[in-house]
């Protein structure tokens, strides 16, 4: 065997070892425990739900109020969770008008399922780095988003979502005001 052949063989062996180890999956004992932002705060029974903010800015039937999206927003004005229900009509089950508790829960689960590892880091860091979460990145159109810019940093809707993932308490006036203001989308010239 010539030296060149020997080098080639050893290189191939090293490459094979590298590729094999690089392709190895995580250990079966590895676990990921998610630190999700609070559902209680998302639901915000003392004020306007963060879910209503998502519904107003993202959840129309032509956008994320669709089963074709990974991030699905359920609401009275958009996609309904119960197949018997119709947008803008009372829930068949509860006979109540409005987004149902099950829809808020489903929206919450859908939203926190987007980049859960990164979201966990953000929640653990009290909101630091929230701009890197896909939901905010796309909403702000910093990351490619077919729906364009739907959130502007510092506006009410954006602030409501940032404060939610930052762990703001429901007693926070800033959080309450941002979610209330962020749940309504009006024409640029003002409400009709």
């Amino acid at each position: 065997m010539t030296p060149t052949t020997l080098i080639a063989r050893r290189s191939l062996t090293a490459l094979a070892l590298f590729v094999t180890s690089a392709c190895a999956g995580p250990s079966p004992n590895d676990t990921f425990t998610m630190t999700a932002p609070s559902y209680d705060t998302f639901r915000n029974l003392n004020g306007v739900s963060v879910g209503d903010v998502f519904a107003a800015h993202c959840g129309t039937l032509d956008c994320h109020g669709s089963i074709a999206r990974n991030m699905r927003i359920y609401s009275i004005d958009g996609l309904r969770l119960d197949p018997r229900d119709v947008p803008n009509q009372k829930s068949v089950a509860s006979q109540q008008f409005g987004t149902t508790e099950a829809e808020y829960q489903a929206t919450y689960e859908s939203v926190v399922s987007i980049e859960p590892e990164r979201l966990s880091q953000i929640v653990q860091a009290n909101g630091a780095g929230s701009e890197h979460w896909l939901v905010l990145g796309k909403g702000r159109n910093v990351q490619a988003h077919k729906g364009g810019q739907r959130l502007v940093p510092g506006d009410a809707a954006d602030t409501c979502i940032v404060l939610w993932v930052s762990g703001a308490p429901m007693t926070s006036m800033e959080f309450q005001a941002a979610c209330a203001d962020g749940s309504v989308v009006v024409p640029p010239g003002g409400p009709w």
């Binding site: 129309t60 119960d82 803008n88 729906g147 364009g148």
Partner: protein, 169 residues
């Protein structure tokens, strides 16, 4: 060999279509008997399926749809004004024809999303409760029957109101 290259070329060209759009167009079915292609055809269907600039509809629409008198009526609302205000504050008006159809072409108004809209008729107005974020056809979200993913047809008033006689001659 030449034939093989020709075949690959043909397949390549044919394969460039959007299958999702093709299926959506196929699902619309044929023309209604007695209604020629044109501004009165296919009321209630998603206009943008064919009129989004990629054919087969010859005219591109930036916004289009059909307005009915009530949520359960098949009678179109004729001569109504459909008012739009886009995210940049630009406003535009269109009107429904005898089929209840209206359409806007990009040369006249190409909105900045979202678009807020309302229907005006007989001195009254009915605003849409939420803005439109990207669909250029009303029927994308307003198809019949109403269901989990559709709010039902665009209408002006609840059932029970009396309207002037309408329809196409």
């Amino acid at each position: 060999m030449r034939a093989a290259f020709f075949l690959v070329g043909v397949l390549g060209v044919v394969g460039c279509g959007d299958p999702q759009r093709s299926h959506a167009i196929d699902a619309l079915g044929g023309e209604q008997p007695g209604v020629p292609r044109g501004p009165l055809h296919r009321p209630g269907q998603p206009c943008g399926a064919c009129h989004s600039g990629e054919g087969p509809g010859g005219l591109e629409f930036s916004l289009a749809g059909t307005v009915y008198q009530s949520p359960t009526s098949a009678t179109p609302l004729v001569d109504a004004v459909v008012f739009f205000e886009d995210g940049a504050g630009h406003q535009f008006k269109s009107a429904t024809n005898c089929a209840g159809n209206f359409f806007v072409v990009p040369d006249d108004f190409e909105p900045t999303w979202p678009v807020f809209t309302k229907v005006l008729f007989a001195g009254l107005e009915t605003p849409m409760s939420s803005p439109v974020y990207r669909a250029n056809s009303c029927a994308t979200c307003h198809s019949n029957p109403p269901g989990q993913t559709s709010v039902g047809q665009v209408y002006f008033a609840p059932p029970g109101l009396t309207f002037p006689p309408s329809g196409c001659p």
